[in-house]
Subunit: 342 residues, 2 copies
DNA sequence: CTGAAAGCGCTTACAG
DNA sequence: CTGAAAGCGCTTACAG
């Protein structure tokens, strides 16, 4: 059986290609009867219009892109990004939009190169971008390329947004975490963040510092990179007695689940008990936190929902050109054994 | 700046579109000088040929598809599939082939519908398919749709293969696991497998049974579904004294890492110690196994490499039409505390 | 080695 | 409401 085309259907039905096209796309210009006959025949033949022909004539790829940049060895260990991906995919599937996925290393140049390529080839109609950086070059790059985008995790400014994105109130999340530790009696804590070039880490750090100060708590900041090993090393460094003159540190906040796991391993090595000697809390929840021993208290941020919202912003931008910003609900603290009061 | 096209480049250079096309695609039919001028101009303008125009005229989408079917709630918790995905993506990127990703629930009909759609729209040139089922309907479906595919994890038959795929010798893997447990002194063990409708589980079960028999060991089989809870329930069931008349079961083999984690949780609830009372071993390695307490002995199968090989088989099939089968190297046992001899 | 032309399979003004 | 025709931006025989 040769591949059917719209011309073939038209011939079979004795009508023009235009009528078939109008009927398929739900546009006016065909009688109800004709439309029915077209749809019935397409159904019967299991026929769908060619996506590339459609893309070419519509100047629309029908796909959006997402590049996941991470250490290749770590890919798949980051539950937060996988949750995002699942949410994004679900929203896109509902709108018949395909998802083009690329994974690159941590080098920003690779990510930029993918955008240039996609824009040049008109392979995708828009992209989803993650983790707003300080002086992030990507918005300007994407504007220059004419590639619509949504930036997941962008700062809330008073002004009307320059591009679409999702925002999170990190002060609220920081308060949730710090208040919980304060209530449990902690007065001197460590905060192991992700890289400071990430805007949201800057905001979290400020939120933690200010909330802690309001309680009269002391915070030691430590910059790390979200890897398990980094969390481990941070804990070893911060908990070495020589590093903490004065009162001992009794709790540690980790910027993600993997670092929290690393911190937990470090405690074991150091012969410290959790939560008795040091309590641990993670800024991301995941199965790792649930399965750890002791299970780790974590801020649950619902990545699936966040991905869905980001995807919907992008679809809306592509359909209507509307630039807007949606704020994410605050995270919910899942209290587990790692911060139990003794 | 209006979007450049191949006609624009031709005009600027005072040559025909055909020459530009030949030059870009590395085909003969242009002088070296002309080719250079074309490539230089494209580079200077940051210009790439339109993927949809190319797809239409070549009748090739330049993309392959992959549908991940899993419980939406579990997506992202399955490290094995994420590792596969990373390996696949790496191989495809090297061949300038895009990856179209879809996630659907566990209902096979949804997966089939995606294939029908992709084939009808000629949206992808081929697909990667996972987990060969008993009486798997997918090979016949894909053949009917004319959609080339590679089936990752297909049985090794003596005959020339009917389709491309990767094979694994589950007998060897089973022997690795069983020998390890035998060496550690276990004589009566539980084997918690994934669903029996998966061909590779059938093969693993047979492999375990036969190897254990050769050592005079006793095996109790239990069918589960790869979820954490299922592993938990399996352990509770198998370790309840009433279930194991006679000698107690001293070790359990779990079909994946999540079930092994569930098993570990169950042991804690039952007041049993690991490895002292019951040893645990997982057929997949992952960060979960490494972080568990005690850390769980696991068979490492290198999913990234497997994904890469599967993708290369598909690319080869698309380029040359070669149907072939590659066998995966046996897994390597990573021995950890969960099977330490006391 | 180069150019003019047809073709890939749709969509969409434009006449009727 | 319907049909003939141009156009989307490439690729590829076919002449020269």
């Amino acid at each position: 059986m040769a591949k059917e085309t719209i011309a073939g259907l038209a011939k079979r039905l004795g009508i023009s290609k235009a009528s078939v096209s109008y009927a398929l796309n739900g546009q006016s210009g065909v009688s109800d009867l004709t439309r029915r006959r077209v749809l019935d025949l397409a159904e019967e033949l299991d026929w769908y219009p060619s996506s590339s022909a459609r893309a070419l004539s519509r100047s629309r790829a029908g796909a959006v892109g997402m590049v996941l940049s991470a250490d290749p060895a770590l890919i798949g260990t980051e539950p937060y990004h996988m949750g995002l991906l699942a949410g994004i995919e679900a929203a896109l599937a509902e709108s018949d939009t395909a998802l083009m996925l690329r994974m690159v290393g941590n080098d920003p140049a690779q990510e930029h190169a993918v955008y240039e390529r996609w824009a040049g080839e008109r392979k995708v109609d828009g992209v989803l971008v993650f983790d707003h950086l300080l002086d992030d070059p990507r918005p300007a790059l994407l504007d220059r390329l004419g590639l619509p985008f949504v930036l997941h995790g962008t700062p809330e400014t008073g002004a009307p947004p320059a591009f679409s994105g999702t925002t999170t109130d990190h002060d609220v999340d920081a308060a949730t975490i710090i208040d919980h530790l304060h209530d449990a009696g902690h007065r001197r804590i460590g905060h192991v963040s992700g890289p400071h070039r990430l805007l949201h880490e800057k905001e979290r750090i400020r939120g933690v510092r200010e909330r802690a100060a309001s309680h009269g708590m002391e915070v030691v900041q430590y910059e790390a990179n979200y890897a398990l090993q980094a969390g481990h090393d941070a804990a070893v460094t911060l908990l070495r007695p020589s590093e903490t003159p004065g009162a001992p540190m009794t709790a540690m906040v980790f910027g993600n689940d993997l670092m929290a796991m690393g911190g937990l391993l470090a405690l074991r090595e150091l012969g410290l008990r959790c939560p008795d000697d040091v309590a641990i809390i993670s800024w991301d929840d995941s199965l790792h936190c649930r399965l750890a021993f002791p299970a780790v208290t974590a801020l649950s941020r619902n990545p699936g929902m966040q991905g869905r919202v980001a995807a919907e912003l992008l679809l809306d931008l592509l359909d209507t050109g509307t630039i807007r910003t949606t704020s994410m609900p605050p995270g919910e603290l899942v209290v587990r054994a790692s911060t139990a009061t003794v």
